[in-house]
Structures are given as structure tokens and as C-alpha cells.
């Protein structure tokens, strides 16, 4: 469960990027966070990852109080989440397999576990045949699938995707969204998609939280992108 209670974030005094945010996201929910540039989407994501600290209010993710969290605990919070970047952030000199395995290596998984589980994650995102390809040999959609497989690698409860379709064509975008929905429905992952792509948001009729000038303008289940 993710809970923002009167959360505000200011980078300098009285210059609030987010103001009095109250959001509750239950386990297994699928949520779009939308809004124009400067609405506060990126800051909200940074707060979730504890890349930034909240200025006021309480932010809770499961057993973690992010507003009071010590630096040394941050890695353990992040292990409960998978993150997908708009620009994929894959290692160009590593194969698909190695890119995914990297996530498990980092948190100390055994080689045996890595060998057993990595192919399964790659298969889950539909790239079984591209296991030994390098990122340069993949399309944008495929790269994002690898990033998704990497995000899944440590079995996180929550997946945060920051503009996951920003760098890929519309057809591929649809595939990625379907994959995210499948992960939500079949594996029960909590999915948070930060996007400004109206068509995609409107198509899936999920919960949509709209940010505008740092405040929650609307929060609708089965909602549409607010213009």
C-alpha cells in the first residue's frame, strides 16, 4: 500500500512543486499519473523512490515511512519496487540476459537462482528468442520489454514506469501497456504509470490521477485523461 498524507515538496522555501498531496494506492492497483510538464509528476516519482525527501506530510510504502527514513534503509525500500525508465537505461555492452541478471546480481542473488529465474523473466516479456542479443540489435519496444524484465527480476510488489512509451512507436506502446496490465492482473503487481499519452490512458480506463501545478486536480477510477 502506498499512502501520501498531506505531502508537500518544496525545493526552496515556499516554492512548492507538490502541495498537500493525499493519495492512497492499494496493493494490486493499476494507476496512471498524468499531467502536463511541470505538474509535479517527476517529483512525485522521485518521492516514491526516495530520491527526494518530502518537505511536509507523511509518505508510507508498506512498512517504510519515507518521510522519516534513514539513508541506509533506502536500498531496501527500492528492492520492493521495479523501475522502468523512458530511455530504457540498458547496458549496451551486455546481452538481454546479462542486463536482466545484473539486477539480481546487485542484490546478492546466487548464480544458481540467477540462471534459473532470468530466462523465465525474459520469457514473460516475450523475448525468449532474443536472450543473447545486445540492446543495439533490439527495437525500442523490445528494449522496453528488457527493461521491464529487469524491473521484475527482484520480484517487486510495485512497478513504477516513468513515461514507458515515450521513446517507442504507438503500436509497440500498446504492447508495453498490455504487458503492464498483464503483470497487474496475473501477478498482482501494483503498477504506477507516469505518462502524458492521452490515447493510451483513455483506452485502458484505469484509475487516473491528474496533477496540475503541484496539486491533485482529479483522481478517478475508470477515468480518462483530463485536458
Amino acid at each position: 500500500m502506498i499512502e501520501f498524507k498531506n505531502v508537500s515538496k518544496a525545493y526552496s522555501e515556499n516554492n512548492y512543486v507538490l502541495k498537500d498531496i493525499n493519495i492512497k494506492i492499494n496493493d494490486g492497483e493499476f494507476v496512471f499519473i498524468v499531467g502536463h510538464s511541470g505538474a509535479g509528476k517527476t517529483t512525485l516519482t522521485k518521492l516514491l523512490l526516495r530520491e527526494e525527501k518530502v518537505s511536509d506530510g507523511r509518505l508510507i510504502i508498506d512498512n517504510f515511512r519515507l518521510d522519516k527514513m534513514r539513508e541506509s534503509k533506502v536500498p531496501y525500500l527500492r528492492r520492493t519496487m521495479g523501475f522502468v525508465f523512458q530511455d530504457f537505461r540498458l547496458f549496451p555492452n551486455k546481452t538481454v540476459y546479462e542486463n536482466v541478471a545484473f539486477a539480481m546480481q546487485v542484490i546478492g542473488a546466487s548464480n544458481k537462482k540467477i540462471k534459473k529465474e532470468v530466462p523465465a523473466f525474459i520469457e514473460a516479456v516475450g523475448l525468449k528468442d532474443r536472450m543473447h542479443a545486445f540492446p543495439a540489435q533490439l527495437s525500442g519496444g523490445e528494449k522496453q520489454r528488457v527493461a521491464l524484465a529487469r524491473a521484475l527480476a527482484n520480484n517487486p510488489k510495485i512497478i513504477i514506469a516513468d513515461e514507458p512509451t515515450g521513446n517507442i512507436d504507438p503500436e509497440m506502446s500498446l504492447d508495453i501497456m498490455k504487458l503492464l496490465i498483464a503483470l497487474n492482473e496475473q501477478l498482482g503487481k501494483t503498477i504506477i504509470v507516469v505518462t502524458h499519452e492521452k490515447d493510451l490512458v483513455d483506452k485502458f480506463q484505469k484509475r487516473v490521477i491528474t496533477l496540475k501545478n503541484g496539486i491533485v486536480e482529479s483522481d478517478r477510477t475508470g477515468g480518462m485523461y483530463n485536458e
Binding site: 523512490l49 539513508e71 536500498p75 527500492r78 547496458f91 545484473f102 539486477a103 527482484n154
Partner: protein
């Protein structure tokens, strides 16, 4: 992931760095070498100073007409003076034989014409003192020996010769070397830390993507920083070993040659005698500087 991953990752970074690794090693080796050279210089000076004959001795020459009774009284009085460690009496006859020996067989004939009555050399005392700082006072008292105890200068002392000036000069020389060396070493050490820290910073930038992804995945600070620290440590250790090798070459080559030429003036301890000291200086200092440089470089990048 095995716990020793940082070793392989740090080693890979070390070799991947090529020019920057090389530059760091050159600078750090030079600094360490300088530390080694100064340490050697201090050791050699100390050893050589200990070996200089009569270095901490004062020689009192009595006037030629001094009576033997006055000489024996003078000895007693000298023994009672403050700061005197030992007194050795050298008679006129002993002085003459000693000179004959110094001149060797070829020139011994020069002294043949001298006998007990014509011996031009005076009786003398060799005095060893305790504290160099009390030499002035001791010399003052020796110049005014009062052998008959009447409270007046007897005028029996011709000359008081001491090596105080040499001692002082050597002391000054040691001070200059140690102060100058400390400054120079500090400067080079700071430069080494700066270069290593830049090397590690460049490594960090070349791995920025990896570090970013690691942070988002949940890698601990230790996991992320260890390869950088290890790379710094490796640069330090390699520099230490090279420095040690160069020092060995200098010590056993040119320096040993020089010591041979200046035999009697310079005492060069056997390299083996200083081995543990050198290894400790080179490897220890290299390691500490390498790790310190790395820590400075990555500290500001390590925000959670």
C-alpha cells in the same frame, strides 16, 4: 552475487582506465619514492653522524710548560665539571706515537728527530660530553681551568678544540632536510590524492549509467562504492611496489657506489636491514593514499 565481486570489478576498472590509471601510478610512485628517499637520507645521516670520530668530544690542549702535577689536578677538575661523561688523558708521548702511526711508515722519519725533550706536542684531554646544549658552558669552564684550586685561571690551557660547530651544522642540515622533505612530501601527497581522486571520478563517470541503475535496483552504498575503493587501493599498491623496486635499484646501485667512494664518511645500512621499513612505508602509504583519493572522489556522488 558473491561478496568478492568488487575485486573483479575494481580490477577491471583498473585496467580499463589505461592512461588515467598510468598517470595516477606515475604520480603516486614519484611521491612514494620521494618519501622513501627522504627516509633513507635520514637513516644514512643518523648512521653516519654516529660514526664520525670525536663528534661529541672536546679536546683540551695544555700548554707545553704545564707541570705533571698540574695536569693530574686538571684531570680531577675536569672530571668534576658538569656535562662531562668521560675524560681521557693523552700524554705528549702518546700523541707523538699516534701522529707517527697516522703518517704511516713512509713518513715516520719526520718524527725521528723528536725525543722526550723536543716533542712539540702537548698533553691533552679528550672529553666526551653528555648534552650538546651544554657545550658552550663546558668549553668556557675548560678554557679557565683552575688546577690549584685558588679560584683563579691558572693559564695552563693552550686551546680547547671542539666539534660543536660541526654537530650544529649537521643538526641544522637534518632539520632542513626533514622540514623541506615534509613540505615537499605533503605537496606531492596532496597532488597524488588529487590525481587518484580524478582518476576514480573519471571511472565513476564512465560507469554512471551502471551506478544509476544499481541505485534504483536497491544496491547498497557499500556495494556501489567498493569497486571504486578497490581500484584506488590497487593503484596505491601497484605504485607502492614500483616505488619499492625503484628504491631497491637506487639503493643497491648508484647509492652503494657512492657510499663506497665516500667510505668512512657515509654509512649505508644493508638494504635487507631496512626492508621491512621500506615495504611498510611504500605499501602502507600507497594503500592509504589510494583509498583516501577514491573516497574523496565518490563521496559526493553517493547520495542515496
Amino acid at each position: 552475487m558473491n561478496r568478492l565481486n568488487f575485486v573483479s570489478e575494481g580490477t577491471r576498472q583498473f585496467f580499463r582506465g589505461r592512461f588515467r590509471t598510468f598517470a595516477s601510478i606515475v604520480i603516486l610512485t614519484s611521491s612514494l619514492l620521494l618519501v622513501g628517499v627522504f627516509a633513507t637520507l635520514m637513516i644514512v645521516i643518523n648512521k653516519s653522524v654516529d660514526n664520525i670520530d670525536d663528534f661529541n668530544k672536546i679536546v683540551v690542549y695544555m700548554k707545553l710548560d704545564t707541570q705533571s702535577e698540574q695536569v693530574s689536578n686538571a684531570k680531577k677538575q675536569i672530571e668534576g665539571l658538569k656535562n662531562v661523561k668521560s675524560v681521557k688523558f693523552i700524554s705528549k708521548a702518546d700523541a707523538l706515537s699516534s701522529e707517527k702511526v697516522k703518517f704511516g711508515d713512509d713518513y715516520a722519519y719526520i718524527f725521528d728527530s723528536y725525543d722526550e725533550t723536543t716533542n712539540p706536542l702537548p698533553d691533552s684531554f679528550e672529553i666526551e660530553y653528555v648534552d650538546i646544549n651544554g657545550v658552550d658552558a663546558l668549553v668556557y669552564n675548560l678554557e679557565r681551568l683552575d688546577a690549584d684550586g685558588d679560584g683563579k685561571d691558572d693559564g695552563i690551557v693552550d686551546k680547547v678544540k671542539n666539534r660543536y660547530d660541526i654537530a650544529k651544522n649537521i643538526n641544522n642540515f637534518k632539520n632542513v632536510i626533514s622540514i623541506g622533505g615534509t613540505w615537499l612530501m605533503s605537496l606531492l601527497i596532496a597532488l597524488s590524492v588529487f590525481v587518484i581522486s580524478n582518476t576514480i571520478r573519471l571511472t565513476y563517470h564512465s560507469r554512471e549509467l551502471e551506478v544509476t541503475v544499481m541505485r534504483y535496483i536497491g544496491a547498497t552504498k557499500t556495494y556501489i562504492t567498493m569497486p571504486f575503493m578497490f581500484e584506488g587501493a590497487l593503484i596505491g599498491l601497484v605504485s607502492g611496489l614500483i616505488g619499492y623496486g625503484v628504491q631497491y635499484y637506487i639503493y643497491c646501485g648508484p647509492m652503494a657506489e657512492l657510499a663506497k667512494k665516500l667510505e668512512g664518511y657515509i654509512i649505508l645500512p644493508a638494504f635487507e636491514e631496512m626492508n621491512p621499513l621500506y615495504l611498510a612505508i611504500y605499501l602502507g602509504a600507497g594503500l592509504v593514499l589510494g583509498i583516501f583519493g577514491s573516497a574523496i572522489a565518490i563521496r559526493r556522488f553517493m547520495k542515496a
